[in-house]
């Protein structure tokens, strides 16, 4: 029978990667303990070492069972090394721990390679492996067989005489002589003779002891090894004699394993049982409601109208609960995004010769899986930035009156419909003057401009901006701050930065709990309905025509409480017919994007609602100013607007003449002055 092993691969990959993550955490703990004790080697807590060993051991066992030979070979070497550590045959000093951490990386890369079929860096992996091997102070006895052993089989019939005399306590290991005899009978023809010589009288007999012995004649194409195999478990618990006629010809027969491995497809989700229980309960209630409504409508009469309404209200409740339950299932704790950070901080701080401590709070805050997946890279980049540019070298820190060890604090919490993640360091803060210089250099600001500190700091989010003198291979390349911000923005969130010179910098990321739905405000422009994400809306006001100014040509600005912002006529941006072009007839919705405000002119506000996000790009393409689409209650499609895109459209002259760049968002005293 063929059982397809591939169905177990996915689980194996996931548990192995988890095991490696655990190994990494423990190795870091080990190193920290060493550092705290002030000397390199450490009398390690045995449980740490056991955990580390078991992880490698499991990976070795699983990978060889499922046929991932490269993984198994490496895991075997690693396991030997860890075994030596565990037994105390060698001690875990810093050099060894670093090598082990490298090994974890290699194994991880091998497992991912097995999973995806992508190539690994063989040179690096072989290098690490030989280092591991050369560290071994004593060679391990024999190499465990990776494949099933080969067996020889006679082609000629042999005649064996077997005497099987179990010891008294054979039963106590759960062994059963009858089983052994049955097994022998499969090999060939047997004749069994029971030897009752040692059987005492019933009164003296202990039923838990074995008093019997057997003489067996076995005829068949059987080798001695095959017979010995049958007795292999009990060979120490009996006397065994196997005598035979000489074996004639041996035909080697090897049993080989050919287990194919397949790329595991995209991720699975581990869900806690309570979440699933809640879901099942909610669905149950939904079914009850549906049955009730169904009954009502079968023989409907108008007396039942109020009950029908009650039923619909209940349906709404059930649906909402169901939606929440299902969304909860896809939510994972942020620790999944944070788990690579300790290792990153460890490696980078060593490389940069800085002392850094990473503190994480709120990693149990949950967020949708799709958001987590896309959060990891921006997060890594921000932490790298802190390490590279923020935290100073120990000497510099001490000179500035700070502790030698820099601190990076990661704090996550849920606020309303968002998750807020703060990355705060106590480093040197952002260098305003350097940023300003670079901005002017790159032509992002005129030389005479006098931007506020807040505006200077926003400059770092401009594309291609990097103030590092030498682009280190750690940061300043690959992903810039602009990409970070775009990534977070594309998730429906935002990034802000605040900094204090000499004291540190704090990046704040705001992320929606989920990507699937959004709280929106429906607005009307002519016959068209659009949805504005609630999170972008500041307020809505009736337009006071006196507050409108037209500084340069036809672009319009609106003044609201000493703040001036661009006035965007949605109907112009989208080339549709409004109910009225007279601004006083409609409303202005004040929106915010990337720290900038704008006023959106619409005919009417229709109301707040939660909408399900449907992709426009799947079958069409991305449209500027539109983030996605949704399906309204009446089955028609409505567009969900993207504030940043709208502002870009306006700048590009989508409606009237382009808005002068200096007017993006200006806070002035009383009257605006323009260049």
């Amino acid at each position: 029978m063929a059982i397809d092993m591939r169905q177990f691969h996915q689980t194996f990959f996931e548990e192995s990667l988890e095991g490696l993550a655990g190994m990494e955490t423990e190795l870091l703990r080990l190193e920290k303990a060493a550092a705290n004790n002030g000397h390199d080697t450490v009398a390690a807590d045995p449980e740490i070492l056991n955990t580390i060993f078991r992880a490698a051991h499991s990976i070795k066992g699983g990978s060889s069972t499922f046929g991932f030979e490269e993984v198994a070979a490496f895991a075997h070497v690693l396991e030997s090394r860890l075994d030596a550590l565990r037994d105390g045959r060698s001690r875990p000093d810093r050099r060894v721990i670093n090598l082990l951490l490298l090994s974890v990386d290699c194994l991880r890369s091998l497992i991912i390679s097995a999973r995806t079929g992508k190539e690994t860096d063989k040179n690096v992996i072989d290098g690490v492996r030989s280092q591991l091997e050369s560290l071994e102070s004593e060679s391990r006895a024999s190499v465990a067989p990776m494949m099933a052993t080969s067996q020889t089989q006679t082609s000629a019939t042999a005649h064996w005489h077997i005497v099987f005399r179990p010891h008294r306590r054979l039963f106590h290991t759960g062994n059963d002589p009858l089983r052994i005899l049955r097994e022998l009978s499969v090999l060939g023809e047997i004749k069994v003779q029971t030897d009752l010589a040692d059987l005492p009288a019933w009164a003296q007999m202990d039923p838990e002891e074995c008093y019997l012995a057997w003489n067996i004649e076995l005829i068949g194409p059987v080798s001695r090894e095959a017979i010995a195999e049958v007795f292999s478990w009990v060979v120490d618990d009996c006397t065994l004699e196997i005598t035979a006629q000489p074996v004639q010809s041996l035909a080697p027969r090897s049993i080989t394993e050919a287990v194919a491995f397949m790329d595991a497809h995209a991720g699975t989700l581990r869900v806690s049982v309570p979440k699933v229980d809640a879901l099942i309960n909610t669905v149950g209630e939904l079914v009850i409601t549906q049955t009730m409504l169904s009954q009502l409508t079968t023989n409907f009469s108008f007396d039942n109208l109020s009950r029908l309404f009650a039923g619909i209200a209940q349906l709404e409740r059930n649906t909402r609960e169901l939606q929440e339950s299902v969304m909860h299932i896809r939510m994972l704790p942020l620790s999944f995004a944070f788990n690579r950070l300790p290792r990153l901080v460890h490696d980078m701080s060593q490389k940069l010769e800085k002392k850094v401590e990473l503190v994480i709070h709120g990693e149990q805050t949950e967020i949708d899986k799709t958001v987590i997946d896309r959060l990891i890279d921006p997060l890594l980049h921000l932490v790298r930035n802190s390490l590279d540019h923020g935290i100073e070298r120990p000497a510099e820190r001490v000179a500035a009156g700070k502790s030698e060890t820099g601190h990076i604090e990661l704090k996550a919490c849920q606020k309303g419909g968002n998750v807020v993640i703060e990355i705060r360091d106590d480093g040197r803060g952002l260098a305003y003057d350097r940023i300003l210089t670079k901005a002017v250099e790159r032509g992002l600001l005129p030389a005479s401009a006098k931007p506020s500190p807040g505006e200077i700091v926003e400059m770092i989010f401009m594309p291609g901006f990097s103030t590092a003198e030498a682009v280190s291979d750690i940061s300043g390349r690959g992903m810039g701050m602009d990409v970070v911000r775009n990534n977070i923005r594309s998730l429906g969130g935002g990034v802000e930065v605040s900094t204090q010179k000499g004291h540190g910098t704090c990046f704040t990321m705001r992320l929606p709990l989920t990507l699937a739905i959004v709280d929106g405000l429906s607005v009307q422009v002519g016959v068209h309905t659009y949805i504005l994400p609630l999170v972008s809306i500041v307020e809505s006001v009736r337009i006071n025509p006196e507050q409108i100014s037209r500084p340069a040509g036809s672009a319009e600005l609106y003044g609201l409480r000493q703040e001036y912002m661009p006035l965007l006529r949605l109907y112009e941006l989208f080339h549709v017919e409004p109910r009225s072009t007279d601004l006083a007839q409609g409303l202005l919705v004040i929106v915010e994007a990337d720290g900038k405000k704008a006023g959106l002119y619409v005919d009417d506000l229709l109301g707040q609602q939660q909408v399900v996000i449907k992709s426009l790009a799947t079958h069409y393409r991305k449209v500027e100013g539109i983030s996605a689409a949704t399906i309204l209650g009446d089955g028609t499609v409505a567009m969900i607007l993207d504030m940043t895109g709208l502002i870009r459209l306006a700048h590009a002259g989508g409606g009237r003449a382009a808005i002068p760049t200096g007017a993006a968002s200006m806070t002035t005293a009383v009257t605006p002055t323009f260049n």
Partner: protein, 120 residues
Amino acid sequence: MATILTVDDTASMRQMISFTLSSVGHEVIQACDGHEALMLLKGKKVDLVIADINMPNMDGITLVKSLREQADYKFTPILVLTTESRESKRQQGKVAGATGWIVKPFNPEQLLNVVKKVLG
């Protein structure tokens, strides 16, 4: 068919063993370590126990010893899974009272054969 308890801290092994054995009609119970195994066995009777040796909380050898002390499991077949090449682990298993061992890696056919031998 028989009721078999499989004890292993790696989910993929447990799944593979469980799937293989239930495909021929056995009922399979899973435990992730010795502790859980003992808990699951309270007041229950299984016909065979297959246990990994290296497990957290309670390893296979301790589990075997523990089971052999219970009247219900004095004679139940217990097989330990081992990749250890050293004889010592297998010996430890035997001394603790294990019926026999299965060497990892093994394929489903081998597993079924061994189980068949033990259970009949």
